[in-house]
Every structure is written in structure tokens, then in C-alpha cells.
């Protein structure tokens, strides 16, 4: 491991989502599904059974007309680091089908190892994990539109956002033939980042001070990656999951909604 670290400093890919910019259009969800061969069903009315690696939630402040406010919150996998890679889902997986990469900071999901016990789904506080209750059925001819870079999942396994890890693999390929082991910021971007028309999603390496994510979120690595930007927050910060997706909002109620707070709690 030491040898590897000498020529490649560990990266820590993360995301900043500006909730003040998000219009809730859902382009990120659509792009994500198309990019990652996410299966769908004929009847998608039961949202509990839908698979959405990236999902836009609607938050409301619960107030009456003049003060009524809403906020859309896109939620990918948070790729929690926990303490030294001890993500909630990783700790409970009995099959090592999911794991935390210290090289990229990405929480993997290996479908061929997963046997569908769904401990990880129970452990994930963000509902970022989904179970395949059925084998995917693509409408006639649609198999031809599937991405060959992402393997389709079978019935009985759990899947989740991978930060478009296949894009990382492909970008690394290009770097390798050019004799590099490092990626430029633009070389590896997720599908949702590129699809967002408002530019609300920013993706990059949180260990690289040159990347926009680091400059905006200003993660304090000494204190579990807490953002030093006063407008930035993370979901359920108090759980100590140390997620790598940061949210930005200038609205106080949105920031509060990001954590599981008790009414009238100071």
C-alpha cells in the first residue's frame, strides 16, 4: 500500500449540491438512470419499490402562505467515510459486496458478491440503497441502449449510486495510456453533475485544494470532514457517518432539515 501511495495520493471524491440553485427538475435522476442502466417497472406508482440511485426529495418548511417555502434536495449515495472507512453499510455487509475505497473514497457495490440480505439497506440512514425485487425487463430493443460500461443487476441484489465509478475507470484508462496516474478535475465527472442545467451539482476530489468541491465545502479533515463553509452542511451530520456529499443553502430551515432535529431544540 505504501508503494501505491507514493505515486498516487489518495483521492476522496465528493459532491457539493447547491440547494438554492436546484429547481427540482429531475434531470439528474433521468441522467443517472440512463447512465447506470437502472431498471424500471411497468408500474412505477409504488415509489417504495422504485430504484432511484439519485432521488430528488421535496422539503417544505410547513408554514402557511406568506412564509411557505420549499426546497428540492437531490440525494445520491453519500459515500460515507465514517471513521477510517467505517461506513454504516460497509460495516454490516457479511459478503464484502460493499466496501470503502481508501484510494478514491468511493463506497463500492459488487453485484456479483451481493446475495441480497439487505443489511446494508437497513444500516443506511439515507435510504440510498435499493433492492432488486425482480429481474430487470427492458422494453423491446432497449437493451441496445444500455451502457456496456455498467453491468445490469439481477434479481436479489442491492444496488446504489457509485459516483459513476465506470467513468473513473474509463478516465483512468486514458490517463494510463498517457502515462499518468492522476486525473484532471474535468476528466472524471458524474452523469448527474453534467446533466444539471442549473449547475447545482459540483463533483471533484475533496483532498485536492484545486478542485471546486474543496474550495466550496472547505472540509475539515481533522474533524471528520465537517464543512468549514458556514452555508454548507451534510445530511444527518450528528450520526457521524462522515458523508462526502455536502449541501449548500442560505436558508436556515433547510440546514435544520438536513439533520434529525427535535422541535424547539436549540
Amino acid at each position: 500500500m505504501k508503494e501505491q501511495h507514493e505515486h498516487t495520493k489518495a483521492r476522496k471524491y465528493g459532491m457539493v449540491i447547491d440547494l438554492d440553485k436546484c429547481t427540482g427538475c429531475g434531470a439528474c435522476m433521468a441522467a443517472c438512470m440512463a447512465e447506470n442502466n437502472v431498471p424500471f417497472k411497468k408500474d412505477e406508482s409504488d415509489k417504495l419499490l422504485s430504484i432511484t440511485w439519485m432521488r430528488v426529495y421535496k422539503l417544505t418548511n410547513g408554514k402557511k402562505f406568506p412564509e411557505a417555502d420549499i426546497c428540492y434536495l437531490p440525494r445520491p449515495c453519500m459515500h460515507c467515510e465514517g471513521e477510517h472507512g467505517h461506513a454504516p453499510c460497509v460495516s454490516v455487509c457479511p459478503a464484502v459486496a460493499t466496501d470503502y475505497s481508501h484510494e478514491t473514497g468511493i463506497v463500492s457495490q459488487v453485484y456479483t458478491r451481493c446475495f441480497g440480505c439487505r443489511y446494508c439497506m437497513a444500516a443506511c440512514p439515507y435510504h440510498a440503497r435499493y433492492f432488486n425485487w425482480w429481474d430487470p425487463v427492458w422494453p423491446d430493443g432497449m437493451e441496445k441502449y444500455l451502457s456496456p460500461n455498467v453491468s445490469p443487476r439481477m434479481r436479489g441484489v442491492v444496488e446504489k449510486c457509485s459516483f459513476c465509478f465506470h467513468r473513473h475507470q474509463l478516465a483512468m484508462n486514458k490517463a494510463y495510456i498517457e502515462g499518468r496516474r492522476k486525473l484532471e478535475e474535468h476528466e472524471y465527472q458524474t452523469a448527474c453533475t453534467q446533466a444539471c442545467p442549473a449547475g447545482a451539482i459540483i463533483f471533484g476530489d475533496l483532498n485536492n485544494p484545486g478542485h471546486a468541491v474543496t474550495q466550496i465545502a472547505k472540509p475539515d479533515h481533522k474533524h471528520g470532514g465537517r464543512p468549514m463553509n458556514p452555508h454548507a452542511f451534510r445530511l444527518l451530520e450528528r450520526l457521524g457517518t462522515n458523508p462526502k456529499v455536502y449541501y449548500l443553502s442560505s436558508r436556515e430551515w433547510v440546514k435544520r432539515a438536513g439533520d434529525n432535529y427535535i422541535e424547539n431544540e436549540s
Partner: protein, 267 residues
């Protein structure tokens, strides 16, 4: 697995047969004439049938079963590597090259072949067939890929060739020295080439290119420390590892596999 199952079934079937046969012999022979001799004869039959059963089941397991398991397919065109390597300028890389985006061309597409084969160049009937059936009609050749992996596998030629400096031969063998395309044997159950499991039905291998299973990848990774060194201390294949975390510190051998090892090659 299935071979041993078959064998077991075969053996039990033979045993039944031999038991019946012994009964018949006993009833057919005249009653109470030299009982001792008859016993010896029965034992002899049992041994004989056991041997026949054993040989039979071995034949089924080692010879008939693999024949049934794999279908034999011919490549659409009998390709002569030696001839091509001698003609092209840059050796293997003339056809099997890296693209600018880092992807590997693998088996060339028709467009690649047409660069030279727009017209028939030689007198080989295979070439004539190729030009008439594929080039003239603009149809891709449906080559059968010996090394095709399941779609859950991510293999980076760039990482291995450019960074790892692995020779093509390590995985693909001396295919560049072949004058004919060998028969493509497809596993009737899985649809994958026999090259993945290996020629040897027991799964034994002599050369690095004899098999292309996950354990073969893992073996080489362990040897070359592409995955941290401790993997090689494992007495079993890496795929058997239940949980790649560290063993208690008291244990003399610290077993620690790179935690994200799976996601390097799986997608």
C-alpha cells in the same frame, strides 16, 4: 462439481446393476452345488462390475461429460495470425491497438480489415470468402471471442499493458503464432468459452494463459503485488475470502487484503 456428481450417480447405478446380476447368478445356478465356489464367483463378479463401473464413470466424467458440456464452433473465417504478422508493419499493434481515449480495440472491426482487404489480395479461399461475404456486403464478421468475460468484469488493457507492463502472452498465450483459428468451444450452460475454465476439465493449469477465471487474475495480482502483498500468504484462493479485514494482531500472519480490491475489476 458436476463431474463428480455424475460419477457418483454412475457408480451407484453400476452398483445396483451388479447387485441384481449377482442375484440372477445365484438363482440360475443349480442349488447347493459347492457353495464355496459360488461365493468366490460372486465376489469376482462384484469386483468385475465395480471395475467396469469405475472405468465407466471415469470415462463419463473425464471424456463424455466435457464433450457434452461444450459445443464446438468454427470461427466464421479461418484466420492466419502468422501470415498477418509477417505482412503488417507494426506487428500485433497494427490491428490490436489502443485508442486515444484509452480503450483497447480488441478484435478489429471490419473497417480495420478493409484498409488492406478491399480487394482480394492473395489466393487463400478463406480470404476470398471473407471479401465476398463480409467486405462486399459491409457486414461485420461475427468473430467468436475466446477471452470474453461476463459483463460484471471490468478489464483495463491500459492498466495492464501500459502501467503493469504485462505481456499479451501472459493471458492470451502464443496466439500470434497460430496459422489457423482453433475451434471455439462454448459452454452450453453458461455460454462462455472453454478458455475461461481452461482445457483441463479438472481446472488444472500449467501456463498462465491456460485459464481466465477470477482466481487466475487474483493469483497474478497477488504475485505482482498489484494487490498488497499479504494476499499471497493466503493458503486458499482470494475468492474464498469471507471478509478481507485484518485478522487479530496476535495472529502471526497479518492477513489484510486491499479493502476495495473487488471494485477494481468488478463493475
Amino acid at each position: 462439481m458436476s463431474t463428480s456428481d455424475d460419477k457418483a450417480k454412475e457408480v451407484s447405478a453400476e452398483a445396483d446393476v451388479s447387485a441384481e446380476a449377482v442375484d440372477e447368478v445365484e438363482t440360475a445356478s443349480p442349488p447347493k452345488v459347492n457353495e464355496k465356489k459360488q461365493d468366490n464367483g460372486g465376489l469376482g463378479f462384484i469386483i468385475l462390475f465395480f471395475i467396469i463401473g469405475l472405468v465407466g464413470s471415469l470415462a463419463v466424467g473425464w471424456w463424455i461429460f466435457p464433450k457434452l458440456l461444450y459445443s464446438q464452433k468454427k470461427q466464421p473465417i479461418d484466420f492466419n495470425h502468422v501470415l498477418h504478422v509477417g505482412t503488417v508493419e507494426e506487428g500485433c499493434e497494427s490491428c490490436h491497438y489502443f485508442r486515444e481515449d484509452g480503450s483497447f480495440s480488441g478484435v478489429p472491426k471490419l473497417a480495420q480489415c478493409v484498409d488492406c482487404h478491399e480487394e482480394v489480395m492473395g489466393e487463400d479461399p478463406e480470404e476470398l470468402k471473407f471479401v465476398e461475404e463480409y467486405v462486399a456486403k459491409g457486414k461485420e464478421v461475427p468473430w467468436l471471442i475466446y477471452s470474453r468475460q461476463p459483463d460484471s468484469v471490468f478489464f483495463s488493457h491500459a492498466a495492464h499493458i501500459k502501467m503493469g507492463k504485462v505481456d499479451c502472452v501472459i493471458c492470451h498465450g502464443y496466439i500470434g503464432e497460430s496459422t489457423h483459428s482453433r475451434v471455439y468451444e462454448e459452454n452450453r450452460f453458461t455460454g462462455y468459452s472453454r478458455d475461461i475454465w481452461g482445457k483441463n476439465i479438472a481446472g488444472l493449469k500449467k501456463n498462465t494463459w491456460d485459464r481466465m477465471k477470477m482466481d487466475d487474475c487474483a493469483e497474478c495480482h497477488a504475485e505482482n503485488r498489484a494487490v498488497p502483498k499479504t494476499v499471497e500468504t493466503l493458503p486458499w484462493p482470494i475468492s474464498w475470502m469471507p471478509r478481507p479485514y485484518e485478522k487479530p494482531a496476535s495472529s502471526q500472519i497479518r492477513v489484510h487484503i486491499e479493502k476495495d480490491a473487488c471494485f477494481v475489476c468488478h463493475k
